[in-house]
Amino acid sequence: MRMPKLTAFLTATAVFASALTLAARADEVHVLNWKGYGADEPWAIAAFEKATGNKVVNDFFNSEQEMLTKLRTNPALYDVVMINAAFNDQAMAEKLIQPIDVSKIPNYADISPDKAGSPMLARDGKVYGVPWVWGLTALAINEKSFETPPTSIAEMWNEAHKGRVTIRDDAVEGVQFGAIATGQNINEIKDMEAVKSKLTSLMPQIKTFWSSENDWNQMVASNQIDIGTYWSGSADRAKTHFKLPVSLVIPREGAVAWLDAFSIPAGAKNVAGAEAFINYMIDPKFYVEWVTKVGAPVSANTKAVAALPEDAFNRKVMGDPDVAKRIQFQAPITDAQREAYLALWQELKVNVK
């Protein structure tokens, strides 16, 4: 007697729960992005919802691998996904994302041609990613520790900063940083031994490996570090939003640049809503507000950057043609390369113990 009743109850609960998750309303836009990265700003969501009548549902990932896994395991759940251009190719090859009809995205016309034309975002003449923002993995300094900002990457190896240097705990970033320090192309590292010995000599300088913006900002706030690798948008946020003595340095040897783009997952239920959301995200009005209130990387939309004040960091420094010459954009990395980089990185970390 009891058991059938219980079974019925459990079945009913399961059906109800799955109905809840599956019945994404037609006017909902499910967005997958890093947390605290523009698309989940409450003021932005409110403005977008008011303007288009779409409701935004945010979901987050903590690594590119997690993002790909979420797309693989939840087909047709998300309508918009933010993908680093270096991973776009993989998502495209696995048929996780669909071609985008850019004629439905009015602001697409204002995206700078070099970003829109990036070979990483297109295949067979179809667009698979709309460039959103780009930025650098460069150096940032604790202003209290420097009278004049350094200009060379060699400052990381300076004995004076022993035990007060930080670097992100990320094998790919670490190895590419080593490539720049040894004057190599980050996408075609020929002399891996040189990278390894350069990074080996950096290890004794390191205080700790950072993994989130919060780590970095905490260490500066408590004056524990002088210099370290950092993302341009995060350095801007640390200064604007958290009022910390942080400033970004783009070393003369160069820096790693990345491009973030929006894509529409295969099987998205609300493609029209997704197009509207992407259009809003690359709109100058949203961008200026994002930079002013929170701090952000550089928009791929030329009109959005032009709408910033003349002396804004993202316009003055990042827009400097001299900087453009120095930076190297990340190209896709194969799984085998990624594993080789991790093996090297782990070896470095073990040998320092």
């Binding site: 691998q65 896994t69 693989r72 700790t208 993994s211 799984d335 991790l342 782990q346 070896e347 113990k353």
Partner: protein, 289 residues
């Protein structure tokens, strides 16, 4: 129901089944199935997601033996486990003794509460609190410099001792609880008898109290040693550049490069090593217990 039990062990099992079923169902679904899946993964070349080709292989296990890195890390993690367990004994055992034999009634309850209080807070919160205490210019540094007449510089953050401190703090309640249970069970008249026969305090401890409470010590040590060897959160946050251990490398395989097969293989090697250690130790421990 009682009548059925009397009729024989078969029907005894049958009547016990509804009672056992939830626990075993839970163990099957939550532990056995995922663990079997992980064993399966550890022999694969790729995860079978989105139609990638995969096959069976032993390479993941071979990787462990072909690279000295994993051995070094495993030994470092085992050493960490031993050190943390030792400190937990040094700190936890006397506390358990005082709780079991000195305090009575209300004051025992109050102290007991203080011991298990850390269990109720989230592990991450505890670690980040330690980060605030241990760093240069942190709470410990400031407090000591405010009291002491001379200037000292305490910066334990991002070091091996910081990892030990964090882990000992997290795991010492296990030692206190298990030792408390066995110490409390020791009949006071045995202690009185020993004393009346002229045993010194040290002799009492060595000949009566420690042998009788050995099961608690062993249980506590096993409860602490096993998770500490595989720990990754504390070393990562508190250890800084010295914070790379076997557990953090496994985490990297799962999170950073999405190489679940290798991560799973490394985990099972750890499991095997821990089981071997416990098996080797068990006759010795049984004898003393």
């Amino acid at each position: 129901m009682a009548g059925q039990v009397v009729t024989g062990s078969r029907s005894g099992l049958r009547s016990a089944l509804p009672l056992l079923l939830p626990a075993y169902l839970w163990l099957t679904v939550a532990i056995f199935l995922p663990l079997s899946a992980m064993v399966f993964f550890s022999f694969m070349t790729e995860l079978p997601l989105s139609g990638r080709a995969w096959s069976f292989t032993l390479d993941n296990y071979a990787t462990f033996f072909s690279q000295g890195l994993y051995w070094t890390l495993l030994l470092a993690s085992l050493r960490l486990g031993l050190e943390v367990t030792l400190w937990c004994v040094v700190i936890g055992y006397p506390a358990a003794y005082v709780l079991a034999k000195v305090f009575r009634g209300r004051s025992r309850e109050a102290i007991f509460l203080l011991v298990i209080l850390p269990f109720w807070s989230n592990g991450l919160v505890r670690i980040f609190s330690w980060a605030m205490v241990l760093r240069e210019g942190g709470i410990l540094d400031t407090a000591l410099n405010a009291v002491l007449p001379f200037k000292i510089n305490i910066d334990l953050m991002y070091s091996y001792p910081a990892v030990i401190i964090g882990l000992v703090h997290s795991y010492v309640p296990y030692m206190v609880l298990t030792c408390y249970l066995t110490l409390q069970a020791i009949d006071d008249s045995l202690i009185e008898a020993g004393r009346s026969l002229g045993a010194s305090r040290l002799q009492m401890l060595k000949r009566v109290i420690i042998p009788l409470s050995m099961p608690g010590l062993v249980a506590g040590a096993a409860l602490i040693f096993v998770p500490v060897v595989g720990s990754f959160m504390e070393p990562r946050i508190l250890g800084g550049r010295t914070g790379t251990f076997y557990g953090t490398v496994i985490e990297d395989q799962f999170v950073a490069v999405f190489n679940w097969p290798l991560g799973a293989a490394l985990s099972f090697i750890l499991l095997a090593v821990v089981l071997v250690i416990l098996a080797l130790a068990s006759p010795v421990l049984k004898r003393v217990a």
